[in-house]
Amino acid sequence: MPIGFLVNRLVLAIPTLFGVSVVVFVLLRVVPGDPIAMMIPPGAGQEDIDRLRVLYGLDRSIPEQYGIWLGQALTGDFGTSISLRSDVLGLVLQRLPATLELAALALLIAGALATGLAVLGTASRGRWPEAVVDGVTGTVQAIPDFVWGLLFILALGVLMPVLPISGRFDPRIEIDFATGFYLIESLARFDLDTAAMLLRHAILPAVALALPLTAVLARLLKSSLSEAMTQDYVQVAKVRGFGPGRLIVREAMRNALIPTVALSSVQVTFLIGGTVLVERIFSYPGIGNMAIGAVINRDLPLIQGLVLTFAVLFIAINLVADLTYAALNPRVRRG
């Protein structure tokens, strides 16, 4: 893997994060409305209010506040959440693994479903299964992830209660893990009962998140596959007598994946964005759910920390997509 490329991209991420932090910081502080008002009991004296303002640094000018915040952030101190009265970094790190596991699971499901649909659509070009694939992807794409989530809750949680519809795990089961990545850790420990229980909780929100992405990826992959199928090397393979399955999977797929990967990084960031609402609907304890709570409570330090966390995630996704693209595409790798 090109180390120079990696370093270059990481260095470029710094001004982006800096920009995001400035914009968010300034925007959140020019708003009318006093965050302190949220946390004081009715009837608190002006003296107490002033004391809290000084405590949270809200009595200083915005550039001054930003300078202090940045200085502390660089040492890993992102302030204290006003509504949860706890260290922001600690809160975010505690919730982040849940969101990452959910998003990774959704991504796996979307990749597998999209590949299946695209191959089916390409193999049955011009016949009825292709029309079905096109119709399904069109409809699935139009309906947003949280609506899928709500429909799943109704269908599989209530009308035909086969799966749990809230939380990340069964509260009756004691979980004593070293990391926050419960699913990965339980698999690594071969604790299959716990892994199955975690999966049962994660599967509905993950599929809800995966469906719109599946539709987009399937469309992209299908059109690239169709294009690759007309290329000379595929035609040569066809003349040599290889069947359609081998033509698509072994010959066309590799090249068709390149444009799909290139275009999918934006779509994957949408999936991460989707966790905000889907987590809320499934009462799943991730950072998305936390972000909605933070906005409702006007918890400035927490909003700031969460927005930065999302920004880091988006940058990481783009980086991974670029690296995958380079790994798949020899022209980029050597150039």
Binding site: L28, P144, V147, L150, V276, A294, V295, A311
Partner: protein, 293 residues
């Protein structure tokens, strides 16, 4: 076939022939029109005051289920309010947001797209740069920050959608203006001495209007979804105004006792969004030859 009328000349007649021959325009447009009528005549159509509570009749099932109460076709919510009336009034909020927010995003985006495409030079550089930066900022983050800044309310929903989504219009319109600028009619307009703004709004704008209409329809679907999301989490209109998102949130809380409560607003949301998408898709296909692509 519709193509016959179009191949010859992209005149006004050709457009209508193409539109009328398109099933998606009819189907999608019909459903959207129905919702528009419901929104317009909401006070007349709603059988009851959507805020009137009858605590004796809470969580009544809809008419086709046992134990329903006559007069409450879709049943009542946890406070005994008529669900049908709330659904009808919620349609009004959804469509107001759809039209106003998509209109605001469209106005801003079309204006900047027209200017970037037609004036070129530093104007184009500036606006294109702005679009790049905007698109790089993920919509979720932007909407979280915006709603946090603006506070809950219908106006912040509309502002948030306009501020986030103007780029959808600006990018496409800019690209189309670059094509239109090279057409003979623009050269003629310049020759007879029309001013730049006059040409831009009087000549170029009407020619990109079909494209804007397609984008507007698609944006309405997005706006309906965003409004539902924000009212679902309680960041849209004040709670005394019924919304689909608010009804979904209320239904989610009593999902085991009254699962039907959530289904109706979700059904309306899906129907309207699919109809708007179908209408947009149909318009695009129907108007495409007119745009010569």
């Amino acid at each position: 076939m519709a193509e016959l009328g179009i191949d010859r000349l992209p005149g006004r007649q050709g457009v209508w022939v193409a539109l009328c021959g398109n099933a998606r325009v009819w189907g999608g447009g019909g459903v959207v029109g129905l919702f528009a009528l419901i929104a317009l005549f909401a006070p007349v159509l709603a059988p009851q005051d959507p805020l009137w509570q009858d605590l004796m009749l809470y969580q009544m099932p809809p008419a086709w289920l046992p134990g329903s109460e006559p007069g409450y076709w879709l049943g009542t919510d946890s406070l005994g309010r008529d669900l049908l009336s709330r659904l009808i009034h919620g349609t009004q909020v959804a469509l107001i947001v759809a039209v106003v927010a998509a209109g605001a995003a469209g106005a801003l985006g079309v204006l900047l797209g027209l200017m970037a495409g037609y004036f070129g030079g530093w104007v184009d550089a500036l606006i294109s740069r702005l679009i790049d930066v905007w698109v790089a900022f993920p919509p979720v983050l932007l909407s979280i920050v915006l709603v946090a800044v603006l506070g809950a309310g219908l106006h912040s929903v509309i502002i948030a959608i306009a501020v986030i989504d103007w780029t959808r219009f600006a990018r496409v319109v800019r690209a189309e203006v670059l094509v239109q600028k090279e057409q003979d009619y623009v050269a003629s307009a310049v020759t007879i001495g029309l001013g730049r703004w006059r040409i831009l709004f009087g000549e170029v704008l009407p020619n990109v209007a079909p494209l804007v209409l397609v984008l507007f329809t698609m944006e309405m679907a997005i706006a309906v979804i965003v409004e539902t999301i924000l009212s679902f989490v309680g960041l849209s209109v004040a709670s005394d105004r019924p919304t689909w998102g608010g009804m979904i949130a209320e239904g989610r809380q009593v999902i085991y006792e009254a699962p039907w409560m959530m289904l109706m607003p979700i059904g309306c949301l899906i129907a309207l969004v699919l109809a708007l998408n179908a209408l947009g898709d149909g318009l695009k296909t129907a108007l495409d030859p007119v745009l010569r692509r």
